[in-house]
Subunit: 198 residues, 2 copies
DNA sequence: GTCTATAGGAAGATAGAC
DNA sequence: GTCTATCTTCCTATAGAC
């Protein structure tokens, strides 16, 4: 095996862990399976990370970063307010459908963190970032389109984040039932109503 | 130890497992800890259940039953439509605040089931029941209060279920931030808008 | 139906050669 | 920095006495 600097190996192992966990689930992913996925021996794993928990910390921060980037890109401002909401939600939704396992993983990691003493802050940070991402979008719309809210922006941001989260989980569990397109239409119209003037 | 019929022991062990899992998390709960929580030896566990998976199947169906009962009671019809939505959501929310660990457990069990081959149907059934619970409420309101929807009832039901689910998870992760009451007010108003005539 | 004792295996982490 | 081999611990599940 090539001899790489530790930082690079850590990156490789983190990405391998994300693939393995998305495929097999967090509890089923062992340090051995991660090392195998990365194509290195178990000892290399422990050379780069003191413990499995240290790796998982790296996984959570990395995947949360991925996720926020995806959402930020999907929800970028467009020509009109309605178009922003409709196209943004559609783009986000296309990503969920294309990568369901990765999205499932974000939920698993949240719960892993909440159940591991000393890791709760990682779960909280994850959900704070979701809300902040929506808050940024709202602020952009406020400035560029003169959006006015009848509810404080942080309230709307957290609500939209929670709603998106719930819809995503619902889809991941129940799958693409016949009614799903109707639900998305309803949600989109609903969201548009929430961020536009009454 | 008293000699009890198997069915009764199974009930005791299932309840003990729910307590242990709500306290320690699903992956941290072992057959040993469940037996200890129930006050019996490990062999009694394996006398009543062939395997840990068989117990978890019992846990999922039991806790989903609990949960649906809670939601159904919270969301029962009241004098007016607005009161039904407001009081119903408030009652549900009081339960979440009073028993956060149990609610957290429902999410963990969903993911456990989705990751265990042959158990996916338990997760789906869980979420189908959530949607059915809302559908029943809508049907009741339609009959007793002449409610009319501008969107098909199953669509609204699934949407409300997903929204409640997302808000609950958001609360469980981020806790009772100062803004939470405002969010609930927004949600309540929003829900009322969704089920009333335009 | 319940117990003590243990088989059998898999996981996280380490030792020491190269 | 990477490897093979191993230690230690903890789990699920079973055997067999009472």
């Amino acid at each position: 095996m090539a001899r790489l600097p530790s930082a690079e190996r850590r990156r490789q192992l983190t990405e391998a862990a994300i693939r393995a966990m998305a495929r097999d689930g967090v509890p089923n992913t062992t340090t051995r399976s991660i090392a195998a996925e990365a194509g290195v021996s178990l000892s290399v794993f422990h050379y780069c990370f003191d413990s499995k928990q240290e790796l998982i910390e790296s996984v959570i921060t990395t995947i949360t970063g991925h996720y926020v980037t995806v959402v930020k890109d999907a929800l970028r401002p467009r020509a009109t307010l309605e178009e922003t909401v409709r196209a943004g939600f559609q783009a986000y939704w296309d990503h969920v459908r294309a990568h369901p396992d990765e999205h499932m993983l974000t939920y698993e990691l949240t719960q892993y963190a909440l159940r591991r003493p000393g890791f709760e802050h990682l779960a909280r940070r994850q959900y704070e970032l979701y809300a902040e991402t929506y808050a940024d979008l709202i602020e952009q719309l406020r400035q560029t389109m003169g959006l006015r809210l009848h509810v404080p922006a942080p309230v709307v941001a957290r609500y939209l984040a929670a709603m998106t989260d719930g819809l995503t989980l619902n889809y991941l569990v129940l799958g693409d039932a016949a009614a799903w397109n109707d639900i998305l239409d309803t949600v989109t119209a609903h969201m548009a109503g929430l961020v536009s003037e009454p």
